[in-house]
C-alpha cells in the first residue's frame, strides 16, 4: 500500500493533529468568497488548488529563467534546462522512481496512458491479444486501449467490481490469459474513491510475465507513491490534481520497457540524429518528449512536489480519513441519500445520490451556498451504468478541507431535500 491515505499507523490517536487552517493559508484561492460566502472547494478530484509556492515558482520562471530547454549554448538556456530537469528530479523522488530518466513529462495522466497504449499497443499487440482493464476505469484508461485494440484486432477485457465498488480479485486469475499483453488499472477511483489493491494485481500479472500500467491520477494527490515497491511497469499522474499547474503530468516507466518501446510522437528534442534515410532517437526520457515541452509546467510541478514534501503525510492521512468518515456520516443522516462507492479502503471521495433530486440540482443548490462539488458521470460512464444511476454528486476532499466544509455541504444537501420536498 503506497499512497498516503493507506499509511495510517495503528497508533493514529497519538499522531499530531493536522493543522488544516495553517495549510489553507498557503492556497490563495481558498481565501476568495463565492456568492457572498466563503468558498468551500470540494472538487479536488477534478483539479486541486495551487499553493503560493507553485504560483511563485511559475512567476519566477518567466521573470528570471525563461528560455527554450536542451537547445541553447547560452547560460539562460542552461538555467532553464536546469529548472526543467529539477522538476523531473522532484517528480522522480515523489514517485520513488529509480532515476529521473524513467520519468517522461506529458500533458497529464491522459497523455501518459495514450503514450503507453499507442507505443506499447502498436509494437506488442496482435490480433486476438487481450488488454485487461477494470470496471471502474476513468474514460482515459478505457478509450486509448479501445482505440489501439480496434486497430490491432485485440480485445478489451474487464475485471469486474462488486456492489460496494471494490474489485473482484477472485476473477483476476481467470482474466489473466495467455493472450493478455498488458493490464491497465486505476489506483484510486475518481468516482468511487476506492483504493485498489494494485499490489496484488501487479504480482499476479508479473507471475505471468504481463506488465501493468497504473493510473495514479487520483492516488498521487494523497501522498508520495513508491513505484519500486509497487513494482508497476508504468505509472501515470496529472500535475494539476496534485497541486501543480494544468498541462503537465508525468509517466513513470521502467527503463527496459521505455527503451524497448517505439517513440510516441516524432519531432524535435526526441532525436539523436536525423537524415532523410534514418533517424535515431534521443536517450530516455527525451525520446518520448517530442517538441518544446511545457517548461513552466515542469517547474510548477516540481514546486508542487517540493511543497508536498514538506507535509506530514501521516497526519494528512489521519485528517483525510477523518474528513471521509465525517462526510459519510453527515450525508448518511440525510434521508434519501445513498452513497455510491462503499469499498473497505477509500480515499477521501464521497459520491452520492439523493432520492427525488437530480445531482445537477444538488450541484446548483450547493453552488448557491458557495460549495463547489462535481456532478455528472465523472468520466466513468460504465461505473454509473453499473450502479444504475445517470450521474452522482461528488465531494472530493484533500488536506486543506475541514469539518466545517463538510457541514456546509451537508447543509446544502438538506436544503436541496427541503426545496424539492423530497
Amino acid at each position: 500500500m503506497t499512497t498516503g491515505v493507506e499509511r495510517v499507523p495503528t497508533g493514529a490517536a497519538t499522531a499530531p493533529a493536522f493543522d488544516a487552517e495553517r495549510v489553507r493559508a498557503d492556497f490563495p484561492l481558498l481565501g476568495r468568497s463565492m456568492r457572498g460566502k466563503s468558498l468551500v472547494y470540494l472538487d479536488n478530484a477534478a483539479t486541486s488548488q495551487k499553493p503560493r509556492h507553485v504560483i511563485d515558482a511559475i512567476h519566477r520562471f518567466y521573470e528570471t529563467l525563461n528560455a527554450n530547454v536542451h537547445r541553447g549554448v547560452y547560460q539562460l538556456s542552461e538555467e532553464a534546462t536546469t529548472a526543467y530537469e529539477w522538476g523531473r528530479a522532484m517528480v522522480a523522488r515523489y514517485l520513488n522512481a529509480p532515476s529521473p530518466a524513467e520519468v517522461v513529462f506529458v500533458r497529464g495522466a491522459t497523455e501518459g496512458i495514450n503514450l503507453v497504449a499507442s507505443a506499447f499497443g502498436r509494437s506488442r499487440l496482435e490480433a486476438g491479444d487481450e488488454v485487461l482493464v477494470t470496471a471502474m476505469e476513468h474514460h482515459s484508461n478505457i478509450v486509448p486501449w479501445q482505440l489501439v485494440c480496434e486497430e490491432r484486432g485485440a480485445k478489451l477485457r474487464v475485471l469486474p467490481m462488486d456492489t460496494r465498488g471494490a474489485l473482484v480479485l477472485d476473477h483476476l486469475p481467470g482474466l489473466l490469459t495467455k493472450r493478455t499483453k498488458i493490464v491497465a488499472v486505476v489506483h484510486v477511483s475518481n468516482s468511487l474513491g476506492t483504493i485498489n489493491d494494485v499490489q496484488t494485481i501487479i504480482t499476479a500479472a508479473h507471475e505471468r510475465g504481463i506488465p501493468v500500467l497504473v493510473d495514479g491520477a487520483q492516488a498521487a494527490p494523497h501522498g508520495p507513491v513508491d513505484v519500486q515497491a509497487l513494482d508497476c511497469d508504468f505509472y501515470a499522474v496529472s500535475g494539476h490534481k496534485m497541486f501543480g499547474p494544468t498541462g503537465i503530468g508525468a509517466l513513470y516507466g521502467k527503463r527496459a520497457l521505455l527503451e524497448a518501446l517505439p517513440p510516441y510522437q516524432g519531432g524535435g528534442e526526441m532525436i539523436a540524429s536525423v537524415t532523410f534515410e534514418k533517424t535515431t532517437y534521443a536517450p530516455l526520457p527525451m525520446k518520448f518528449e517530442a517538441g518544446t515541452p511545457n517548461i513552466e509546467g515542469a517547474v510548477g510541478l516540481g514546486a508542487a512536489v517540493d511543497y508536498l514534501r514538506g507535509l506530514d503525510w501521516t497526519a494528512v492521512a489521519t485528517h483525510e480519513r477523518d474528513l471521509l468518515a465525517y462526510a459519510e456520516s453527515r450525508l448518511r443522516e440525510i434521508p434519501g441519500v445513498r452513497l455510491i462507492g462503499t469499498a473497505p479502503t477509500k480515499a477521501s471521495v464521497v459520491s452520492f445520490v439523493l432520492e427525488g433530486v437530480h445531482p445537477h440540482d444538488i450541484g446548483t443548490i450547493a453552488d448557491q451556498d458557495g460549495v463547489a462539488i462535481r456532478t455528472g458521470h465523472h468520466c466513468t460512464q460504465p461505473v454509473m451504468d453499473f450502479f444504475g444511476v445517470p450521474a452522482t454528486a461528488r465531494a472530493s476532499f484533500t488536506f486543506y478541507n475541514t469539518r466545517d466544509d463538510v457541514d456546509r455541504l451537508a447543509a446544502s444537501v438538506w436544503k436541496a431535500r427541503e426545496l424539492f420536498g423530497a
Binding site: 446548483t364 455528472g376 426545496l419
Partner: protein, 148 residues
Amino acid sequence: MTDLRELYQQVILDHNRSPRNFRQVPNANHTADGDNPLCGDRITVWVRVDGDVVDDIGFQGTGCAISQASASLMTTAVKGKPVADAERLFAAFHAMVTGAGEPDRATLGKLLAFAGVREFPARVKCANLPWHTLHAALRDTTEPVTTE
C-alpha cells in the same frame, strides 16, 4: 433561497415530480433523441402531427429538474397547437433562457417559469434540450441533438 426559488419555481418542481405526457405516442410520425452526455440528460420526444397541428406529443428521459420540467411543460404548451406556433414558442423560449432581450410574455405564458434559468448559465442547456429535440423531431433531423 430567493435566487433558488426563482430558478426552482413551484411549477417547475411540480412538473419535475409528476411530468405530463411522459409516454411514447402511438402512431407518432416524428421523433428525435436529445442527449447532453456531459450532464447525462437524455430525452426522446415523440410527436404526431396531423395536417399542420401537433395532435399529440410525449417524451421520456432522465435528467435534472430543469430538463424534466422543461420537457413536461413543453408538451403541455404545444399540444393541439399548429406546428408554426410550436416553432414560435421554441424561438421565444430559447431567447428567454439565453437572456436575449425581454421575454415575450404573451407568447410564453406558463413557460415564463423558466425565466430564472438565464441567471444560471450552466443550466441553460438543460432547459433548452427538450425544445431543441422537439425542433429536430419536427424537421425529421436524424442527427442526435445536444445543447452542450
